[in-house]
């Protein structure tokens, strides 16, 4: 295996102002009657990017994908693919292929006919089709299943046939609609990495729609978090997780504690926030909100420390409370701590040792503390 890590790390065309996007949505709106599925959306996707559209059901992510495939026409705005406006091009003339959530395999055709279907439509010579189909079967490790019909395959095998079929024509862009939704957890995790390797190997642009944040975080170069037809944030998984731009994103991705308060002091790239829970948060903030304005403070459970002893400086970023609930998950333990103000916060601790000496117990009084760069300030 070649090391994909280095390629990945250096791949960031979106930071280059001269890079030309491969796919551009420009002020795209899609209405179904009175319902606005996609609302004046502008989004750039780059060549060879693994891009994820993430959101709850009904947020417009599937509509966006279907517009890219050509099954829906935008009500307004334009979609540019490789320099060409594709709004008026029917799906069968677009250089994109889609892998469907239901796999949509042709039930009356064998695995190899399914994979060769797109090639036959292009009038490719028979020998070439056979060669390409064989190559695809090898790629998804289904060589011995070539003659089977879809109903003679397991769910995971069907998923791979669907993948092979959508890759057979070597599309410029592969669209994946909830590609792993129907697989069980173990298989899903394996397949995530297979998809990533495949995308690197083939050098294609992948656009995947998913409601599973873990899936998006694992696979994607960048994620667009969507809600009500709008993109709320587009960023790398790490940025989305560590620097959410809004309460919605912070809450949508992973677990988070949000503390509300008022900005009491700011300066030197730091602010102090008097929280409603009766203690002060001092934290780094890139563009600090004005003193006196309301703000939220978001901090992930794993960045909270739970200790019996008071931290060295208990005047900021520390609060007392009692253990309300303990959840043991194997790899880590989750504590629900009820602060003296009544608010319950979540803290998680990695179980780095097999046995913890004298662990904190239910109803014990503890300190919850965190560092100055552990959380993020939310202005809205």
């Amino acid at each position: 295996m070649k090391s994909l890590g280095n390629i990945r790390r250096s791949f960031a065309p979106w930071t280059d102002p001269d890079a030309k996007p491969f796919i551009s949505f420009r002020n795209v709106t899609k209405k179904f009657g009175d319902f606005t599925a996609v609302d004046d959306l502008t989004l750039d996707i780059y060549h060879r990017e693994f891009f994820a559209l993430l959101g709850a059901s009904g947020c417009g992510k599937s509509t966006l994908l279907r517009m890219l495939a050509g099954f829906e026409r935008p009500t307004a705005g334009e979609i540019i693919l490789d320099g060409q406006d594709i709004a008026g091009i029917p799906p069968y003339k677009r250089p994109v292929n889609m892998m469907f959530q239901s796999y949509a395999l042709f039930p009356h055709m064998s695995v190899e006919s399914n994979i060769g279907f797109g090639l036959r439509q292009d009038g490719m010579p028979k020998a070439e089709i056979a060669a390409r189909v064989a190559q695809m079967l090898k790629l998804v490790k289904l060589e011995q299943f070539a003659k089977r019909k879809p109903h003679q395959l397991s769910g995971g095998q069907r998923q791979r046939v669907a993948l092979a079929r959508s890759l057979a024509k070597r599309p410029k862009v592969l669209l994946l609609d909830e590609p792993l939704g129907a697989l069980d957890k173990k298989l899903r995790e394996e397949t995530q990495f297979e998809l990533m390797d495949l995308q690197q190997e083939l050098g294609l642009t992948f656009v995947v729609v998913t409601h599973d944040q873990e899936e998006a975080m694992t696979m994607a170069d960048r994620i667009a978090v969507m809600s009500h037809g709008k993109v709320i944030q587009v960023a790398t998984p790490a940025e989305i997780y560590e620097a959410p731009n809004s309460r919605f994103v912070a809450d949508f991705i992973g677990d988070v504690n949000i503390l509300d308060g008022k900005v009491s002091a700011s300066g030197n790239g730091r602010i102090e926030l008097a929280t409603n829970e009766g203690f002060t948060v001092r934290t780094a903030a890139a563009n600090a909100p004005a003193t006196g304005s309301a703000a939220g403070f978001a901090i992930r459970p794993e960045k909270l420390k739970v200790t019996r002893a008071a931290p060295a400086d208990a005047s900021v970023n520390a609060a007392q409370g009692e253990i309300w609930d303990i959840g043991y998950l194997g790899d880590m333990t989750v504590f629900h701590v009820k602060l003296d103000s009544g608010k319950v916060v979540k803290a998680s601790m990695l179980n780095a040792q097999r046995e913890v000496e004298d662990p904190v117990a239910y109803d014990e009084r503890v300190w919850v503390s965190f560092g100055e760069t552990a959380g993020v300030v939310l202005k809205d």
Partner: protein, 272 residues
């Protein structure tokens, strides 16, 4: 679980007697030696032999088969098209009216259908004969095809059509390479239904047929008015035999396919 109670046995016997006694009698008397239909005089095949020498009956049978095959085929094409339009284009103006009108012949008394068709043919000066019967049969059997195909289309996964389009198939090729093969069983059973309806139609054929285009049911009916002959019994027995064979083959094939499919699926989920 339940054992056969006396009541159950009586119900079954009564039911089957009610349904099949007339048919059994007909079959038995088709092998009767005597010319008298109600008096048994010994076993014989002679009415079958004379049936095949009865030119009138054989001609009528041939007309019926030709009308049936032609009418069923055209009705299947039209009915399938109507079913597609009704399930796919759900937002066109007048859809409700159209679907209501397609179904109307299902409940329309045959006498009315026949009479209205007769009036039409007379009005436009269309000479009655083979083609008018065929047209009339297309008209009334088409809606049955529509019903059968439409119910299949309602459970049709449209994403496979989208997949075909996505892979570069034009809408026409998508229809012939994906949609049609998948709904083929429903289309075929629609065709069979239309064929059956056409083969045993008497009322509409009587209204719309003309000289030289007498169908088998018409021929039988007119002969029976002159008195039942064992020849007719023989003809009916052959018809019953054909229908029975058809039904048995169809159900055995369905059953086999079902079993094969279940086996395949079990094999697939067992991992191999």
């Amino acid at each position: 679980m339940n054992s056969w109670s006396r009541f159950n046995i009586v119900s079954v016997v009564l039911g089957f007697t009610f349904l099949y006694l007339p048919i059994v009698l007909l079959v038995i008397f088709s092998f009767n030696e005597s010319k008298l239909v109600t008096v048994w005089a010994g076993f014989s095949f002679k009415w079958y032999v004379s049936l095949f020498h009865n030119q009138g009956l054989m001609d009528a049978a041939w007309v019926t088969v030709r009308v049936g095959l032609l009418a069923a085929s055209i009705a299947t094409v039209l009915g399938t098209m109507a079913a597609l339009a009704l399930t796919r284009y759900t937002r066109f103006r007048g859809r409700l009216l159209f679907s209501g009108m397609v179904y109307a012949p299902l409940v329309m008394p045959e006498v009315i259908t026949g009479l209205s068709l007769l009036l039409l043919f007379v009005a436009i000066g269309f000479d009655r004969g083979f083609w008018t019967v065929t047209l009339a049969h297309i008209t009334f059997s088409m809606c049955f095809v529509t019903v059968v195909v439409q119910s299949r289309l309602l459970s049709f996964d449209r994403s496979i059509e989208e997949a075909a389009l996505d892979l570069g198939a034009t809408p026409v090729r998508t229809f012939f390479e994906v949609t049609l093969p998948v709904i083929a069983p429903a289309v075929l059973s629609g065709w069979m239904l239309a064929l059956t309806l056409s083969l045993d139609d008497l009322v509409i054929a009587s209204f719309t047929s003309g000289p030289g285009a007498t169908t088998l049911p018409m021929k039988i009916y007119s002969q029976v008015r002159l008195g039942v002959t064992p020849e007719i019994n023989a003809a009916c027995t052959i018809l019953i035999g054909l229908v029975a064979i058809g039904v048995v083959i169809a159900s055995v094939m369905t059953k086999r396919r079902e079993i094969q499919r279940q086996r395949d699926e079990q094999a697939a989920f067992a991992g191999r």
